[in-house]
Symmetry: C2
Subunit: 183 residues, 2 copies
């Protein structure tokens, strides 16, 4: 399900992403759009801060899943935000990662290919677990598939609340309990 | 000898390196030094091209050794250049990497700590092997150590030529033969 990235390939993707950003700065500089360049730089710094927060959650598999998803050919673009600096050392990384990867695969199969689908994930670490908000906007062509997945039995520590499940929008609130609390 | 980088740590270092570059652009923009910004961007693009060439040599361990060396606390700063786009699929990556890592460790032990030591490596893939030029500038405090290493028996496929071995400069030319040729 999850690709085992070799460091060299990994670095290739990272370099590609960063070079795109630098080329964007270069292009806007050439057009003398200084204000735009400043915005781009601020965006880059903000993104890097989010990446650092995600990496610091102490959920390495989950972080890696989110950090590398856009390198694979999913039919949606992923954005994420980590809402605070708490650590999640009591969350079962493998359980959370497996469930989230399944959700991503189901979304990939149920959304329209070659369309601008977006998935935004907000991550709120809490004292007794982690709360995730998944917001999909785009076109769902196979709603039954995602419906089945969301109503199937999820691991004991994972509670899924469906706020919206429509053809152009899905909103989920997922709470994952700490290991000790659910055991 | 070589650290086994976890992807998350790896990404942390890469992000740190790139963020430094972006901050450098930001700082010079704030000072209205547009020409300097253009130079920095061109340097970034050139560096990324070199990194891509190194990654494409088909010597993943060797590439990784060079790409990650500056993240570890060696007492010299490494720069490298790959002189052409040839592949090196007949070179024994493990043999080359082990020897080079030993050279780096010996240099680290023989050079003056907390001094601005530099090591530049030029990499020239050739049809029957790969030619490497190591140029050290800085201060060597234990020349006997590096001398012993360079005069010790190296693997059969590795030929070392010493062009300079002085207290402030070392210049080596190393030729590594293709696997089939040396076997």
């Amino acid at each position: 399900m999850k690709k085992d990235w070799k460091n060299i390939d990994f670095l290739r993707h990272v370099r590609h992403d960063w070079l795109n950003k630098v080329q964007l700065i270069k292009g806007n500089l050439a057009l003398n759009k200084e204000e735009r360049v400043k915005e781009i730089i601020d965006d880059i710094i903000r993104e890097a801060q989010q990446e650092a927060r995600l990496s610091n959650l102490e959920l390495p598999d989950f972080a890696l899943l989110l950090l590398t998803l856009n390198w694979e050919s999913y039919c949606f673009h992923l954005e994420y935000e980590v809402l605070n600096d708490e650590k999640c050392q009591y969350i079962e990384d493998a359980v959370l990662t497996k469930w989230t990867a399944m959700l991503f695969n189901v979304l990939d199969k149920s959304a329209k290919s070659f369309y601008e689908n977006h998935l935004s994930v907000s991550i709120a670490p809490e004292s007794n677990g982690i709360r995730l908000f998944f917001d999909f906007s785009g076109i769902i062509t196979d709603r039954a598939l995602i419906d089945d997945f969301l109503h199937a039995k999820s691991p004991k520590s994972i509670k899924v609340e469906i706020h919206a499940l429509m053809d152009e929008e899905i909103a989920l609130e997922v709470f994952v309990e700490n290991e000790s609390a659910s055991g």
